[in-house]
Symmetry: D2
């Protein structure tokens, strides 16, 4: 291959720029040209391209967000979308494509691969719920941002003898809630995978209160309930002074952590190598510390869920 | 004076512990004993005291929150509250009191001073709206926390071509919103002191959009409107992809910034010195880089508002 | 077992307190008493013990350093040291021991186990070079601290068109240098495991300079050379404006990252469980995301070295 | 004026980019064109110019370093330097100049003003020792970076019962050492303005040790002595386990703090306004929270020194 493209798609995640840099640098070191595709599949369909050089990615490894920007593309979901995308790629001489994003983004990659454009998926999402990799790019940074917030919240919870409910991201996945809650010593963690009844949450709060515990921090993944509703119920049933914080989009921003930047380097470089070898229709993940390429169709429609062992551990340590 | 007390009252703020440490260390170096009063005036009325030594404050200068905890006390607002507080102080041999808190907390200090217990107020609040001081303890840390959030939000705003509304604290005061918004390069800043119409906000967004600006960050002090309502209106009137983040209580937490820790050292030490000299009914602030003591009654019922010049500057730089 | 001890030994590492908390909380939840041993084996030999309760570890998960303090003990290396330690443990009713530290610390644990005191080792060191675990507690935090420093150094390197040499910790191990250098996009990384000649470093700098690169950051593990000597040689041979920073002990401090806090929770809890089951002479590590217990003697005298693949990747991306 | 230039000169400082942005945005809003001059006076003399637009400074407010780069220029110190600089400015139609830098940089500005090119100085240096302003751009960020390092060092000092010496920047000025040391609760602070004998430092350490204090952090401004020599002497005379850290260039990097970003906005904007009014030969500083313009010649050859009152306070609180 002589020319490949790279795009970011779906929700942005810290480390996407480090992955773009890795694709470009490894691609160029292998003798290929690399073209940036702006705003995901929308830009691929409309031909919104810009060449990327060694120096144009020289200062992006630490930047949050994605310099290529990202967007959702309805057109890519329709039958003609992938055909139009392919035509644009061919017109620009793009022979292979790296897609950095989440589950939905890989469906588009698979369609392009089926049409003859080798595409390789790289997992870039803060949710960490992608099958076929132990870690997704952006997860560790989002967890550290949430952990920092828990630590700040605990300062004020302790000072005021208050109960705090903090809602973090994760519509279908409790990864951020569980990891940040465990690392932050949260008193309860509510996640969609292993539902806990409000009775149990409240019993635990009351038992703690009887033992003299005067403040608590409860972490809720958005898929497990709305922070404000849960806070309201706790207040009504216990009478505890309860406050709610919805952490929101700050979880998506910031410079990537070391884990995320390294992961982005490894996966982005491997994606470029696979395309150089003419291989597409693949997904590049990290399993047991190794970079592994697997067929894209094997990992769609599956989710990587949190291990129950970690849920138990969080409960054992929150006594 | 041989024995003084110290309490924190009202909302907690980063640097309160550094102020407690300064009261204790300066007090002890002047030959006084220092007693910690837990949970503000409530603890004063109930006699919830604990001696504080050089070593018991040895590791608190960098900690968020307040080791003495804080609470609001209705009883202190009633006629008998201050009398009960005085009786407890006298029973414990407490001859003077340092009150670290906000405007409401100083009313209690003034009542105690009127009853013959010399009390000195130290401004500890993230709101920065206290008359008689250029800075309050906690403000700079809260602004830096908000600034960090703006920077993270901007990463994702840029990546998605989105408009973000971020609500920060400040029920009656635009200080945090203005300082963080100016330092973070926000496109619009809404504060209670100088209201801006939604028409103007939307005009500005649309002019930016016409010039090619594809993302914006709007900061709203809670006293100037609800973030979610403002986001909704922007979305409805412009059609822009608009998201809202309510930063919430994380603004109260965290280790104090250098400015806050230094301010706390200066004001806390001066408060102890004033009591050693037998002076009470005073408020200790920083004016033009000097520590200044003023009568408490001079600064009640007044507010320090943001200068209009900074509002204009923020607008000029957001073009 | 009814009563166990826990100590930290060797160089301190972020997350040691989170591990202590996990030992205590899991131990108590299993029905055991937990005793803290101060200053490592020195405190064990002198009987410097303090009971640890659920609440005494209630606020330590995020604190850097170790509340139990740590020290090196020459006496423990001598024949009578372990016997004296055993006697003190028995006198205090301590039936099992968790040792949080590095390689040297585990030799002591093994001796105690041989004498009949079940001891379990938990890897707490920033160096990450312990055999039998993919990660050691403290490594991820130290890497993130170093990464933050690289990012700050790069700001000033770019502004001044300078070459910077930054020396990081790692007397026998290049883990911190390699991870931080890769994540920070360092132009060269010098580690003890895979030596690079100064000729190669200088060639690389000169090739970069010919391509128009005006600044560079070179990371050196202390085991691969002295930063100041390397900086001097670069300056003398290239004439480039070269500066040196020795990062030093700040790499050991700070609140643990999410990865380190979680790892500490997992390993500390498992160590308590093993002792509850009466098992000693073991080392608890994390391998392929699972917590694994192995005989202590299997992992001594071995080192976990950096994979050559990551060294190559760093070079490929630094073109 | 229709066209002005802006350059950064001397050592780089966090917030310089925020100041450049403010000059550009305020300049453009007043109807002027703004030209960036690369690498300080060297670039002015060689005509290394680039136009700066609203959007070219759209994403730099939070970036460390200076996008214009900076350098020292020997030629500007020689008689013909300023003449060559003037000729280049005139050839490019540059009618006024903003110089962001330190004391040395303002000498060049004064010479240009004397030759008829209105020049305005903006204080950008981490040293905070410039006469005519209460704060310089970059100081607050450097202090917070140093404070963060003190906090990390204290973690490991406490864990190991060690004495740490930390050397911070300040060849002629103790501002960073004093501010960070006070905010970090350092046991001793050595600065060039108010020398302290080693006898006194050691007495203080020994008195602390007698009272049971087992660890200490001593901050040294580079102008008050070399960290390594001081550490050596402490070790030799006390026998305490003493370690040394030289913080180095990381103090220059990083995103500007809120204080620095705001200060840069205020001073940069005012500099553009002064040039628009045709006024040059001025220095823009912040005095008592107001932006004030003063003749450049009034502030040369003077230094703003640390107040002795803060030195005393640090000693009083370190008991």
């Amino acid at each position: 291959m002589q020319k490949i493209g790279v795009l970011t798609s779906g929700g942005d995640a810290p480390g996407m720029n480090a992955a773009i840099r890795a694709v470009v640098r490894r691609g160029v070191s292998l003798g290929m040209e690399v073209v940036g595709v702006r705003r995901g599949y929308a830009g691929l369909i409309s031909g919104d391209f810009a060449p990327l050089s060694l120096s144009s990615v020289g200062d992006i490894i630490q930047r949050g967000g994605t310099i290529l920007r990202t967007a959702r593309s309805d057109r890519m979901m329709q039958p003609e979308g992938p055909l139009e995308a392919l035509a644009q790629a061919q017109a620009a001489g793009i022979e292979g494509l790296v897609v950095i994003g989440g589950d939905g983004s890989f469906r588009g990659a698979l369609k392009l691969a089926a049409l003859g454009l080798p595409a390789v998926g790289v997992p870039g999402t803060i949710d960490n719920d992608i099958y076929g990799t132990d870690l997704t790019i952006g997860f560790d940074t989002a967890v550290n941002t949430s952990l920092d917030a828990i630590r700040k919240i605990r300062d004020t919870a302790t000072s005021h003898d208050r109960t705090f409910v903090m809602e973090v991201m994760g519509r279908n996945s409790g990864w951020i809630a569980l990891a940040a809650g465990l690392a932050g010593g949260a008193e309860s963690i509510l996640i969609p995978e292993f539902p806990v009844s409000m009775d149990e949450v409240i019993n635990r709060l009351q038992r703690g209160s009887e033992r003299g515990k005067r403040h608590s921090v409860i972490i809720v993944a958005e898929g497990a309930g709305q922070g404000f509703k849960i806070g309201e119920e706790i207040k009504n049933r216990t009478g505890f002074d309860t406050r709610v914080t919805v952490l929101g989009h700050i979880q998506r921003g910031g410079a990537p952590s070391a884990v995320d930047a390294m992961l982005a380097c490894r996966l982005g470089a491997r994606a470029a190598e696979l395309l150089m070898e003419g291989r597409g229709g693949l997904f590049v993940g990290q399993l047991n510390n190794e970079v592994v390429a697997q067929p894209l169709e094997h990992m769609l429609d599956k989710h990587r869920t949190v291990p129950h062992e970690l849920v138990e551990l969080a409960e054992q340590l929150a006594i």
